[in-house]
């Protein structure tokens, strides 16, 4: 019966393959997982082969090839370091505490985690992409050998760095607040890509070399050193690689230290903070509507601060239009457009839409809302309460963004008109978002990838409805345009807009809300059933 004990690296590889197979095994909910895995694999294949081809294509242009390789190597490295924060809990070989019960020494544990990390889709993708260094920048056999070694070092460095960061963060990531941080971070990464993109595009448009401006500060980082090594004479190339090898050894040392510490220290507790917690601070409570409406408002405002997804969504609504209209031209030394203050209209619509899947965001907890509908028109209070929360949080932001942007653009006299129109839009879209929330709610997964927002089809339907909602709001607001254009010449009209806009928006938004309430009254149990997929 007894067999020769297998060597630890073999065990690690087999464990890794078994975990991969297990993730693809048919079972409840496995369809989504399999599709996700396949999509990930396809995306990985496209990206890695794409990177390989791009680098190969740049062969005749060493300067560009080197810049491209630098950016690629750095992006891969950062991706690997951030990866554990995003996928913690979904990858069993990332969390050292999963293996801590096995009789393994620190070194052996590192072998299992490290070798295991070299098997899988991500390392394969990384490996293929880094081969671009050989095909793109190598000139001659020595240089090719340097490139090949550099590529291998890059893969090893990525794996070691990701394991080390996972171990360092494992205590934090195992707590709820740590996972919240992960969700927020993931969303911020997604947003910052959108923020950087327009700036780079503009640079290219104006004849600049975006690639070079990104690559040049990265040249002295470990990935940058590796990417440039094939282009250097042999001695400096060897020196670069030796420096990176030293960096990897330092990472290994840091990893081992943390590994030893993590197996003796307990998880960071998420202890209590306040003793006499109240639903809303006294100052806020004063402006809240009474009763059920105010309760829903207070809860939503609390969630805005405590639910990372909502906080990030809200912050994005403000940042995205601001960056596109203001920050990106200014970072290129251009004057922001004079009518730029009207970007608050875009901010208003995005903020208004934040409630478009409000019941999905609450998930099955919505049962409490249903169970307490104990007065006539409580359904109206449910929707109104959420709308009031969005408006209460949104208006100060609109005023702030409007004041700052109009001051920068030198168009303060347009501020009242811009605020009047934007508050009008906010009120209409908020009401419409309630209608989207009851027409096309979709469950939001609690665990796993922060980018996935639920069933693809459902989320799609919600997007269509929310686009319709924004378009409808824009059309409904057109009559105000009759006042906006003259207000450029007669500033006093701006103040008229400041009064008329909110009043008009309140009426139109109220019509949308009335339709939403009818639907919520008749379909609440069905909506709850749809959302109850997050059963514990």
């Amino acid at each position: 019966m007894t067999r020769e004990a297998e060597s630890l690296p073999t065990v690690a590889v087999r464990l890794r393959l078994a975990l991969l197979r297990g993730a693809l095994r048919p079972g409840p909910g496995s369809d989504g997982r399999t599709i996700g895995f396949l999509l990930g694999a396809i995306a990985g294949a496209v990206l890695s082969v794409g990177a390989l081809l791009v680098l190969t294509g740049l062969r005749g242009d060493p300067a560009h090839a080197e810049d491209a390789a630098t950016v690629l190597f750095t992006a891969l490295f950062l991706g690997w370091v951030i990866l554990p924060v995003l996928t913690f809990g979904s990858d069993d070989l990332l969390d050292p505490s999963r293996l801590v019960l096995l009789p393994l020494t620190g070194r052996e544990l590192m072998t299992v985690l490290g070798i295991g990390g070299l098997v899988g889709v991500a390392p394969l993708v990384t490996g293929i992409a880094t081969l671009g260094l050989v095909t793109g920048t190598a000139h001659g056999p020595t240089s090719a050998l340097v490139a090949l070694t550099s590529a291998a070092l890059e893969v090893v460095m990525c794996v070691v760095a990701s394991r080390a960061s996972a171990t360092a963060l494992s205590r934090v990531l195992r707590s709820r607040r740590g996972r919240d941080l992960g969700v927020a971070l993931a969303a911020l990464v997604a947003v910052s890509v959108q923020l950087v993109n327009p700036v780079l595009l503009k640079t290219e448009e104006r004849g600049g070399n975006a690639l070079h401006s990104v690559a040049s500060p990265l040249r002295w980082t470990p990935p940058g050193l590796l990417a440039r090594a094939p282009g250097l004479p042999l001695a400096p190339a060897l020196l670069s690689m030796a420096a990176v090898a030293a960096f990897i050894v330092a990472l290994l040392w840091w990893w081992e230290r943390n590994l030893r510490a993590s197996s003796v220290r307990p998880d960071r507790s998420t202890g209590s903070r306040r003793r006499r917690a109240v639903l809303a601070p006294r100052l806020v409570a004063r402006v809240l509507p009474p009763g059920r409406t105010g309760a829903v408002t207070a809860k939503d405002l609390r969630y805005l601060g405590r639910d990372p997804r909502r906080a990030v969504a809200f912050a994005t609504s403000v940042l995205l239009p601001t960056v596109v209209v203001f920050v990106s031209p200014m970072s290129l030394g251009e004057r922001p457009p004079a009518a730029g203050v009207f970007l608050v209209c875009g901010v208003a619509m995005l903020i208004g839409l934040s409630g478009m899947n409000r019941f999905g965001a609450d998930g099955s907890a919505t049962w409490l809302v249903l169970a307490t509908q104990t007065h006539d028109s409580d359904q109206k209070r449910d929707l109104l309460g959420g709308d009031v929360a969005t408006v209460l949080a949104g208006i100060p932001l609109l005023v702030l963004v409007g004041a700052v942007t109009s001051a920068i653009a030198g168009s303060v006299r347009d501020l009242p008109a811009a605020l009047g129109v934007s508050v009008c839009l906010l009120l209409i879209v908020v009401g419409g978002s309630g209608l989207v929330a009851v027409l096309a709610p979709f469950p939001v997964p609690r665990t796993g990838n922060a980018f996935s927002t639920g069933a693809a089809g459902q989320g799609c339907l919600t997007s269509i409805y929310s686009l319709l909602c924004m378009a409808g709001a824009a059309v409904a607001t057109l009559p105000l345009g009759l006042l906006v254009v003259p207000s450029f010449f007669v500033p006093a009209l701006g103040y008229v807009l400041l009064l008329v806009g909110p009043a008009y928006g309140w009426v139109v938004g109220g019509l949308a809300r009335r339709a939403a309430v009818k639907r919520w009254e008749s379909r609440a149990p069905e909506i709850l059933q749809l959302l109850a997929t997050d059963r514990t």
Partner: protein, 257 residues
Amino acid sequence: MTEDTRDLAVAIRGLYKHFGQVPAVNGVDLDVRRGSFFGLVGPNGAGKTTTLAMVTGLLRPDAGVAWVAGFYVWSDPVEAKRRMGILPEGLRLFDRLSGRELLLFSGALRGMDPDEVATRADELLDVFELREASGQLVADYSTGMRKKIGLAVALLHNPPVLFLDEPFEAVDPISARTIREVLAAFTARGGTVVFSSHVMELVERLCDEVAVMIAGRIVAAGPLGELTAGRSLDEVFIGLAGRTGDRRSALTWLDGG
């Protein structure tokens, strides 16, 4: 409405619910006296949760009616929901609120007086030994603490009828004892408790009336003493479920090494 349904805490007639082709609840009739401690027992998947969800207005039945404290659940939900407290199984709570905030929130949702809600909330937190954790987010609570805060939410408005779905599932012994004591006091003062469980010993110890549910139907119901007639509820249940044979003579090689 007939005379007898008005006097009952809960009355269910002809309740049906299908999920796709599968009948989850297949024609349930049930009467629960006021002031009784009523246990709905059955194996996992028998339809207990689905039945309770339909009686409490959280799930629309395909057919059938239910009264709670004399009010039609589905045609007069406002009056019926005022008279019931619910502890669902498997559904989340608003867990980004702290325990105390959750109680204040549910009181405000019911339109109760804020000062009264605050007083009751603090008393409930004390009784359920959650005072220390009252400022902690419910997301950070243990399973037992979640059941207790959920029960506190269900009791806050002093409802005549309580529906509790698996209130003792995965609860530590100390929390379970607290829950038992609070429920015993509640029924002693005239409240009605309807709770579901698949733990026979628990039902036997707590309940005065029992209904056995198997595969979407009530197969037996009545006062505990009449139903068991000297046997244990476990034996009665196994008999009803049609499980036979003694496995004590099997696996003879399993001799403890």
